[in-house]
Subunit: 244 residues, 2 copies
């Protein structure tokens, strides 16, 4: 089964279509195994075969799995209307991310204006060390725990502005602890600033983060932080109590 799931994972590079041969190569399995897996996955709706091109793409069934995840997640459910209100209040893009060890993963997205399609698509991962949500959530953990996570991260820049050096990242985490929110400026997307507040699970560990994202074309970092930092923090705090 692990190999079969590797076939689904092979579509993670953003490739919409893959031939049997490409799948076999990407998964390091032989062609007859690839044939067997793609057949089963297609029958179940996890893959779709593209007409007569003999190429495969992910199937609509994968959306159903994410529906089942999201509908059962009480934090995501509680956050959904709150984020809608927050988006109304601040007019910027707001997201909810979930904590997943070395990365955060987006789970709620409320667009504010035409913008990069991918930037906060549900299910997108971002490294924990360079995202505002990741840093503010790491701030809830003790130093030993933070170090253990950073040990498992491949610390590298995402943009030319990414702060990824370990001592600097730790200083940013300490800053987020003090302020109650984290601010990143062009660290994941050029031209973009993001503030985030951390949502605490009932056991005190990080559960998720509320993000507010704006453009450097509209805001200086100082203005943005002053206006939205406390708002992200308060919203996250309110969701912590709701969830806890």
């Amino acid at each position: 089964m692990e190999k079969g799931l590797r076939v689904l994972g092979a579509f993670s590079a953003g490739q919409q279509f893959m031939t049997l041969r490409e799948i076999a190569e990407a998964c390091e399995i032989d062609k007859s195994a690839a044939q067997r897996f793609t057949h089963t996955l297609s029958q179940l709706g996890y893959l779709e075969k593209c007409g007569d091109t003999k190429r495969f793409s992910l199937g609509k069934k994968v959306l159903e799995l994410s529906f089942n995840y999201l509908r059962a997640n009480t934090l995501v459910e509680a956050a959904s209307p709150v984020l809608l209100d927050l988006q109304r209040t601040c007019g910027e893009r707001v997201n909810l991310s979930l904590f997943d060890d070395t990365s955060i993963i987006y789970a709620v997205r409320q667009l504010s204006k035409r913008e990069y399609y991918f930037s906060s698509l549900i299910g997108r991962r971002m490294p924990v060390y360079c995202s505002s949500g990741g840093r503010v959530m790491l701030g809830l953990l003790d130093d030993e725990h933070v170090d253990a996570i950073l040990d498992r991260c491949d610390l590298k820049p995402v943009t030319p502005k990414t702060i990824f050096e370990r001592p600097k990242v730790k200083a940013k985490i300490a800053e987020a602890r003090t302020k109650g929110y984290a601010l990143t400026v062009e660290e994941t997307v050029m031209g973009e600033l993001v503030v985030a507040g951390a949502i605490t699970a009932a056991d005190g560990r990080p559960a998720g983060a509320v993000h507010i994202a704006g453009s450097l074309g509209n805001w200086t970092p100082l203005q943005f932080e002053k206006k939205f930092g406390p708002l992200a923090s308060q919203t996250a705090h309110a969701l912590s109590r709701k969830h806890g």
Copy 2:
């Protein structure tokens, strides 16, 4: 592998947590097989184990699959900003659904106000015969094809107002063909009206639908249809050309 995927599918009843025994029963596999599958699925992140309760839930990895599906889907990408604009214009909830034989499946969601969390969550399926999006998409197919799909549907009411009887459904599909959009009133959710226009793929077959959903508290069916029917139809038509 089919059995392993059945384990993921077992969480479709909206149950957040399942024990090993419940999983084994739901999938009709023995407990040792369930143990093996849940172990592998947990290691890969498709399942999460809940602390010390020994219960399982879907893992965040399933969100990643849906991300890979959505990021690669050119129709969903093209529709995303268009639906945002449409939501601004009409102030109601707008969604994009995709055609999947006997059902439609939601792929883009733009909330307008606090509302039912589930109602248009991405990945949610609705029967093709009683949803406005389903009916308007069926209208693109010839009668023979429509009949074949309806043969495979389990025609039954979703609400007390659902029109599900075969001749009536076919009349509704014919009406949608003439008007260029379909209207449903309380057929899937009580108190709700929905209009939808169909997006055509390059080969002329149904690809998706643009939905606009409102409340009977704010609109009479006639007002709603007049105001939003043509808008849903035009938006879908514009996306058809974009996509085709």
